[in-house]
């Protein structure tokens, strides 16, 4: 009798745990779905609905369970632990890999709900076998059930999500579920006929879940890395963007907000083509301005000219310029350019900065991210180019990275037309950068273009004056077309860019 009381008390505590876990899995699924799919109201209400419905299925199925109730209960408990515990891991990982994410989501909810739905009727029947009055069973089971639900709904938003995150939260409750099963198995060995098998099963599940829990942060990072082809070696969210570095077998790539900025394998092509034509055509080179280009790679090319006396680099994100001035591998790549005494780094919004700038520059290199949003599109507007006049010394040349004239010809020629509308003569050119494809630049001056004024510095791997002659030729499939001027009140370029690049989603 005493043993029976102990068992029934343990069973009631397990009701509490089950109720808590059950609700947690439901909340995890709902939160995850609204994180990943958006639209909180729809996600939560469909998930609640499906979950409750699945519990109904479970309750219905419980009547087909005959004999060995406690064993079935323990088995169900372990399965709930495994499935519920790993649910958020599976969902996070499959979001990047699988197209029918919603199917997996709803399937997991159906499974968890059914198993949780099985538990309570089974428990009631077990308690019934230990001859506790029906009145007491119903009263106690539901009391613990509801208290558990309340506990879950409070600790989930207040403690678990902020402290552990979703992946670890569900793993933690998976561990709890399995622990209940183990406790029953260990404390009441005589109640089970196939105890050994169940023990092995439960321990295996517990180990798995614990390993998952310990590696939770790594799983999170791995889930993110799935969107990159190579191994993620560095990732950080600055106030402005997500900075990710990946390393393949022979190259390093930088991604900002998921967009490739360079590959160490061929960035020299891009940066040589970006910097040298304008440096060659500026009347003087003593003072150079770089806007964007926080990776210091354009800077590296600029510093190859001994007559450069000072360079001002304006890049919004201090996290990026710090990364590229501190990290050993990256400073080798940019030849410690950001640390040069000639260089002054200003972490400010380039548009705002240029409108208040007091100095004048002999050459201006503009290496902004592609105009993929309205916010970035401003940096390519005629007003931006108009305000450049005030920072130019006589005879200065400007160059602007201008996306691909092959994949996005309207975008490219729109930049060219916008620069021209702001009172510049332009010289558009392009070159091939394997990791980007065919890439374009717009060079601009206030007066006439001259021929290259000086010899190129030594050590260039790609750029030469002969090569440049070919770069200024635009074959039929990239040839100039009228587009209109990119103004702040039409942001035409962003519309072009979005339309043209959407057909090259691989990029």
């Amino acid at each position: 009798m005493d043993k029976n009381r102990k068992l029934s008390l343990l069973l009631l505590i397990s009701v509490l745990v089950i109720a808590t876990c059950g609700l947690i899995y439901e909340l995890v699924a709902g939160t995850l779905a609204s994180y990943l799919l958006g639209d909180t109201i729809t996600q939560f209400s469909t998930i609640i609905g499906l979950y409750l419905f699945s519990m109904g299925i479970g309750s219905f199925l419980s009547k087909y369970v005959r004999g060995r109730l406690l064993e079935t209960f323990v088995r169900v408990e372990v399965w709930v632990g495994i499935i519920g515990g790993f649910s958020s891991t599976v969902l996070f990982l499959s979001f990047e890999l699988v197209h029918s994410f919603s199917f997996i989501l709803y399937f997991l909810i159906l499974l968890t709900g059914t198993l949780v739905g099985l538990e309570i009727p089974l428990l009631m029947r077990i308690l019934n076998e230990y001859r506790i009055g029906f009145k007491d069973i119903v009263s106690r089971v539901f009391t613990f059930d509801y208290v558990g639900a309340l506990a879950a709904s409070l600790i989930f938003p207040l403690f678990f999500v902020p402290k552990l995150g979703l992946i670890k939260t569900s793993l933690f409750f998976g561990i709890l579920n399995v622990s209940v099963a183990l406790l029953l198995l260990l404390r009441f060995p005589l109640e089970f006929k196939r105890r050994r098998g169940l023990l092995i099963f439960s321990f295996a599940a517990l180990t798995l879940l614990t390993i998952g829990f310990v590696m939770g942060d790594r799983i999170m990072r791995y889930a993110e890395s799935l969107s990159y082809p190579d191994k993620v070696i560095y990732s950080q969210s600055s106030s402005y963007q997500r900075i990710v570095l990946t390393r393949g077998h022979n190259e390093t790539r930088l991604f900002l907000n998921g967009n490739l900025q360079f590959s160490s394998l061929d960035e020299y092509r891009y940066h040589e083509a970006l910097v040298h034509p304008a440096m060659q055509r500026s009347r003087s080179r003593s003072s150079v301005l770089v806007m964007g280009g926080g990776d210091g790679l354009a800077l590296r090319e600029i510093l190859k000219y001994p007559d450069v006396q000072q360079v001002t680099l304006v890049d919004l994100d201090p996290a990026l310029t710090q990364l590229f001035s501190g990290n050993e591998y990256l400073t080798r790549l940019n030849e410690r350019s950001l640390l040069s005494p000639k260089v002054k780094v200003i972490n400010q919004d380039a548009f705002i900065w240029v409108r208040n700038a007091a100095e004048k520059y002999d050459c201006v290199i503009i290496d902004f991210p592609d105009p993929s949003s309205f916010a970035l599109g401003k940096l390519y507007s005629n007003i931006m180019y108009h305000s450049l006049h005030r920072v130019l010394s006589p005879g200065a040349a400007i160059v602007i990275q201008s996306t691909s004239p092959l994949f996005a010809p309207n975008s490219f020629w729109c930049i060219n037309e916008t620069v021209r509308s702001a009172g510049f003569r332009t010289l558009p050119y392009h070159c091939y950068v394997p990791s980007f494809g065919e890439w374009g630049f717009v060079m601009a001056t206030e007066g006439d273009f001259t021929q290259a004024r000086s010899a190129l510095p030594g050590g260039l791997r790609f750029f030469s004056n002969e090569a440049f002659a070919a770069m200024t030729h635009f074959p039929e499939d990239m040839k100039e077309r009228p587009t209109g001027v990119n103004r702040l009140n039409n942001q035409m370029l962003v519309h072009f860019f979005e339309k043209e690049w959407s057909s090259y989603s691989a990029h």
Binding site: G22, I48, L52, S59, Y146, S153, P157, L488, N489
Partner: protein, 532 residues
Amino acid sequence: MKRKEFLMLGTLGALAACGTGNIFRKGDTYTLIQEDPAKKFGHMLRDGLQKATAVQKKEKRILIIGAGISGLSAAWMLKKQGIEDFVVLELEKQPGGNSAYGKNDVSAYPLGAHYLPLPNRNYPELTEFLEKSGIISGYDPAGLPVYNENYLCHEPEERLFIRNQWQEGLVPDYGLNAEDRAEIKRFFAYMERFKEARGTDGKEAFAIPVEYSSRDEAWLAYDDISFAGWLQRENFRSPALLWYAEYCMKDDYGTVPEKLSAWNGIHYFACHKGKAANAVSSDVLTWPEGNGFLMEKLRSEVQEHILLKHMACSVSLDGTKKTVNVLRTDTQQSIEYSCRELVMAVPLFIAARMLNKEDFPQVLPRMPYGSWLLANLTLKREPGGRGFPLSWDNVLYGSRGLGYVNACHQNLQVVHDKIVITYYHALTGADPAELRKKAEHFDAAEWNRLVMDDLRTAHPDIGQLTEHMELRLLGHAMPSPVPGTMRRVLAGKNELPADIHFCHSELSGYSVFEEAFYQGCECARRLIKISV
């Protein structure tokens, strides 16, 4: 099974705790209430509490009561014509009326009107003002004005939250069926015809300023029915279109189509025909401080003539002179101004309270007014949302509010940490007088909830995002012309006392900058004629 219900409740409860918790957690979200400052003194006027004895007597040739856009425009015009012997009295501590604005660490923001549509090209004074203010920077070879592109509303201009996502533009489109789409197309084609239409008198059917509109009976007849009645008569039944029409009417007239003259309803869609070298006619001019920018341009020209915190209490006739009792709200001193010409640049219901009943026995015509609630929210970061990105004007389909405008939209920086949004809500649907009474017992928590509940539909995290909210309640924000009003307005039958000059956008039946400016300039022109 009870367990299920409980689970459901528990989950909803948890949801609610996530969603609403922060409004009640006042630690980081506090609310400052700004009541309509004119209200208190307006009520003093109404209740006749202004019998202080004059301690000072002053004389001016011209006295302008009210430094809203109409009063400032009149002053601007007088000054431009070399007249200096005038003074503008303003009750509040800042001029501007509906073009007033506020400012905090993050941004300036409107406390009322927030944009100017591209002006039509038939009103040289306005063009001249825009040139002088640097808003028009030149003309192209075809003679079209080139607008300063810092002031033309930048893209993305408008978005609508519909079916749980943001679409581009305010006209409902996302998820609409073919029938709705066809009807919306038919509606706008109709409005295009109204834009082109002219009367037998050669005037545009629907013009801005309103005064330039045709008096042809064919067009005046639209003033005989309500806008809702006209929509019904023309068989417009699409709920999406009807919602859009109602939204527009609330936005510009503070009332619903059922209570608005069809003339005004059509006018809203058909009056803007502005052309520019570097913009399309649907573009607008806007600034972080809204029309406060335009107001400052007017004000800076006549700064030395403006007396703030001067409440005109009563107006009486003294032979050919007019006497105005003025109470300084800061020092409580009373001043008796006498003037040859008096300009009432205030709404008529205010004017009616000031005029001495014995000297001015006639009853001033009354128009219903729309009441507005305006809230400026400082947000910790830009609000997100699925679909089209944050725009200048952001409206929620099916909402009772009018959405919000991003005051930081015209800022050029790429990334914003904090922004200020201005939320608008026309308090329609109830008796305006009753609403205003309710507004007197201004319950901040209640209005706060109204704003948050509305915005939460699109931004579930608005409670967490909001760092600060400033509410402003405008009891008489704008006139809402009922059928029959525009016939009276266009016939020039205003039945106003002849001894004094009236100057206010209400006389055009349309509370917009262009009308206030026009009324101000026309009034100044009359004054100049008299003095010559």
